[in-house]
Symmetry: C2
């Protein structure tokens, strides 16, 4: 146990859950907001700006990369990260469909 039973759910359910899990940490939200705010690559900077150790931030960046949410390019000594537009669009689409499925009708509870 302690292992999610992915096999009993649909591919879309698992995919959306995986994407949301990658977003579901304040440090990763902060990292993404920092990238979004600059509207371009972010090279370095992140370690000084967030109050976390360099190893911790590198780990969060790796998770975002693994989920396909960001992509990195080596730029000399440092690495530049930016949003992966394809995955971002996917999140918007899947999340939009999920959230939009709620039609607020008569209150029942």
């Amino acid at each position: 146990m302690g292992l999610t039973k992915t096999e009993i759910f649909s591919t879309e359910q698992n995919q959306l859950a995986t994407l949301l899990k990658a977003l579901a940490h304040p440090a990763r939200i902060a990292i993404l907001q920092r990238i979004l705010a600059s509207n371009t690559c972010i090279c370095g900077d992140l370690v000084e700006e967030l109050g976390l150790a360099q190893a911790t931030i590198s780990q969060h960046l790796k998770e975002l990369k693994n989920a396909g949410i960001i992509q990195g390019t080596i730029e000399g000594v440092s690495v530049c990260y930016c949003i992966n537009p394809v995955t971002w669009k996917l999140i918007e689409t899947q999340m939009g469909a999920f959230l939009g499925a709620y039609k607020q009708e008569a209150d029942c509870c």
Copy 2:
């Protein structure tokens, strides 16, 4: 360690992360989709339809309830669950702002 450093992030970052975390499991997405599909309360039913033990589903329902995403009303022997419209709206707003902050400009990476 093993404990998220919530104190170094903003209230909004922590709130969004908490809400997304509650959604970030295929079983909980499936539960919510089941409620959304019926467009009304769901009383019972969930245990037979998902392939998880009753205790496990009850635990997932509790997490969704704790996050304020669903609300339950005792209806005789069973309990009826439905979407909490306030929280659902909050998720839509916060997530919309977060995702909408991405303006796809020139590719840099």
